[in-house]
């Protein structure tokens, strides 16, 4: 039997049993809708969480150990020698130094190049950390340099990519400041600061002078509430202000493969240093929680799809039993057992496809409804997603494919039953 004949006859049969077709399509539709809805929800929430907690699975942050027995027995300060040893660990592709600036820097004027209603007398203490250029090289604006500048020139800084979101959603509303427009290109923005000045009493240094910070890019590798400057700038300022460096604040190791991270972390601990799980651990825990929840919901949806397959199996079995004579008639006209089997499977396949298409549409519409409701109900908070769902093209194929596959699976037994009809007996 040719495919077009098969589809033609299956369509005629489905049309003739409109009620059964609608019930079976609805069963397939519910399974597909639930599956697509929950998988899209899991991916959407996962994407939103990754924006909030952009943990890099290949980075290990090494900090001085809580208890140190001195460099001879391991541990001790994170000095250049320690950085060298860390860089030599198997699996490590790069070791980037971080050094917190202990000279206060404060901004008491609005950044240049952007309109802001900076309150009179308003001063912001700027936490600064020095980092190796290699750590943030990929986040620099094209042509941007991240080196300690000659005296009198603006110091290049990188800000956390998330800081802009936090500023717009939290800081600006709290201080009644103008929000920065979305899509604003902040690179090149100059921030006038006072080096040595602190808003904390008695913390201002004897020497205070004006300087400028120039935004060279945005990076997820910069701590949320800090600005990153070249580590050489921090060392220069420490020398300038007589602050002795006992070692670096931390060293970020870039590991070649995420799978090697546990081994590298163990090696670091054996060296007497500690590993700051920090944001990466939070990101991992959040990611795991989302994966588990989304997986459970997807399993529930798969269960619903399986139940739909069972319902279709039951309905088709009843239909086949009721059509025994019709099947025998088709056999008398030349249908083989294979034709009869294919016919029942084709009917189920068409029902599954139709149910899948409708189900995917319902899931998409429901997702839009949930998003619209969330916009109305949830307060505006940093990183609040515009959608809680992600619909990559393959998810539509997944919904339709699983629905059709479930319907076909449910039709296997009824199809075998139909193929066993004895025409001479059934037609009598």
């Amino acid at each position: 039997m040719r495919l077009r004949s098969l589809v033609h006859l299956a369509t005629l049969n489905l049309r003739s049993d409109a009620r059964g077709t609608v019930v079976n399509t609805a069963a397939a539709c519910v399974g597909a809708a639930a599956l697509v809805f929950f998988v899209a929800l899991g991916m959407g929430v996962g994407q939103a969480a990754r924006l909030m907690f952009p943990g890099d699975a290949r980075l290990v942050e090494v900090v001085p150990g809580a208890v140190s027995l001195g460099a001879a027995l391991g541990g001790g300060a994170l000095d250049d020698a320690a950085v060298g040893r860390l860089r030599e660990l198997p699996g490590v592709e790069g070791a980037w130094r971080r050094l917190s600036l202990r000279v206060p820097i404060a901004a008491s004027r609005a950044p240049e190049g952007v309109r802001m209603n900076w309150p009179v007398g308003f001063t912001v203490q700027v936490p600064v950390v020095g980092v190796d250029a290699g750590l943030v090289a990929s986040d620099l604006a094209p042509g941007g340099k991240f080196v300690d500048p000659p005296a009198g020139q603006a110091i290049p800084v990188l800000a956390s990519r998330r800081l802009l979101e936090v500023y717009n959603k939290t800081i600006a509303p709290a201080w009644n400041l103008r929000r920065l427009p979305p899509g604003l290109d902040l690179v090149g923005l100059q921030i006038p600061v006072q080096v040595g000045f602190s808003i904390i009493p008695l913390k201002t240094e004897d020497k205070v002078y004006d300087a400028r910070l120039a935004l060279a890019g945005l990076s997820d590798r910069v701590p949320l509430y800090s600005l990153a400057v070249p580590v050489e700038t921090v060392r220069r300022l420490h020398v300038e202000y007589g602050k002795a460096d006992a070692g670096y604040s931390s060293v970020v190791l870039e590991v070649g493969r995420p799978d090697d991270v546990p081994a590298v972390a163990s090696a670091v601990r054996r060296m007497g240093f500690a590993v700051d799980e920090g944001e990466r651990a939070i990101a991992e825990r959040v990611g795991l929680a989302i994966t588990v929840t989304a997986g459970a919901l997807a399993l529930l949806a798969l269960l619903m799809t399986a139940l739909a397959a069972l319902a279709i199996a039951q309905s088709l079995s009843a239909s086949v039993r009721g059509r025994t004579r019709d099947i025998a008639i088709l056999q008398s006209l030349g249908a083989t057992a294979g034709d009869v089997r294919a016919l029942v499977l084709a009917e189920a396949g068409l029902v599954g496809l139709a149910g899948g298409v409708v189900g995917v549409g319902i899931a998409w519409a429901a997702a839009r409804g949930v998003d619209a409701a969330a916009i109305g109900l949830l307060p505006d908070f940093p990183f609040r997603p515009t959608t809680f769902f992600l619909f990559p093209p393959w998810i539509f194929a997944l919904g339709v494919g699983v629905s059709a596959a479930a319907a076909l699976l449910g039709a296997l037994a009824p199809a075998a039953l139909a193929a066993r009809v004895d025409p001479a007996r059934a037609i009598s």
Binding site: R4, S5, H8, S16, G334, A335, T336, A337, I427
Partner: protein, 224 residues
Amino acid sequence: MIALRHITKRFRDGERQVEVLRDLELTVPRGTFTAVVGASGSGKSTLLYVAGALDADYDGEAVVAGKDLKALSARERAAFRNASVGFVFQSFNLLPALPAVENTMLPGLFVPPGSKAPSLGQLRGRALEALDRVGLADKAARLPGRLSGGERQRVAIARALLSRPAVLLADEPTGNLDAVSGEAVIQLFSAMVRDGVTVLVVTHEERVSAAAGQVLHLEEGRLR
């Protein structure tokens, strides 16, 4: 054209076996009209199912339209039924949910792979021609439930004619028809015989057997 040799067919009835056909012999020459008459339950329908390759579970030899039916696989028997045999039943055996034209098209949907299959449009054209031949072109879109008994049987005959079979096997074709409709069906059979079709009808109605060139009686599983 139809040659049945030493055909024996048994049915299991609980613990015992019942012989419906016993060493049956039948020869129907090509292009003739043969009627087999007999009482209800005498095995007339079974004889047709054997000749039409619907039943392969028998002893003996059946050669129909040049094919030794015993030697055919299940798939080949299906292809044989599709290409060489037309069935007409007492209860019409139309699919109730399909319009007359779709019922008539059915054999064309099962053309086996390897044979030239017409398109659905061509098939519909052929079905309409067949319906026209039995005088029902104007009722092609009607469901069987909206046709009279005689009209339904004519649709069944049109369906049997679609594949231009060599053999037409009819099981009590006028059993559910009034005199006028029955006469129309008999005339259709006679016309088919004139076109070279071999017609074998099992019936217990005299008006049918009267139109046949050969009349055989089935008693106790044998033809006399």
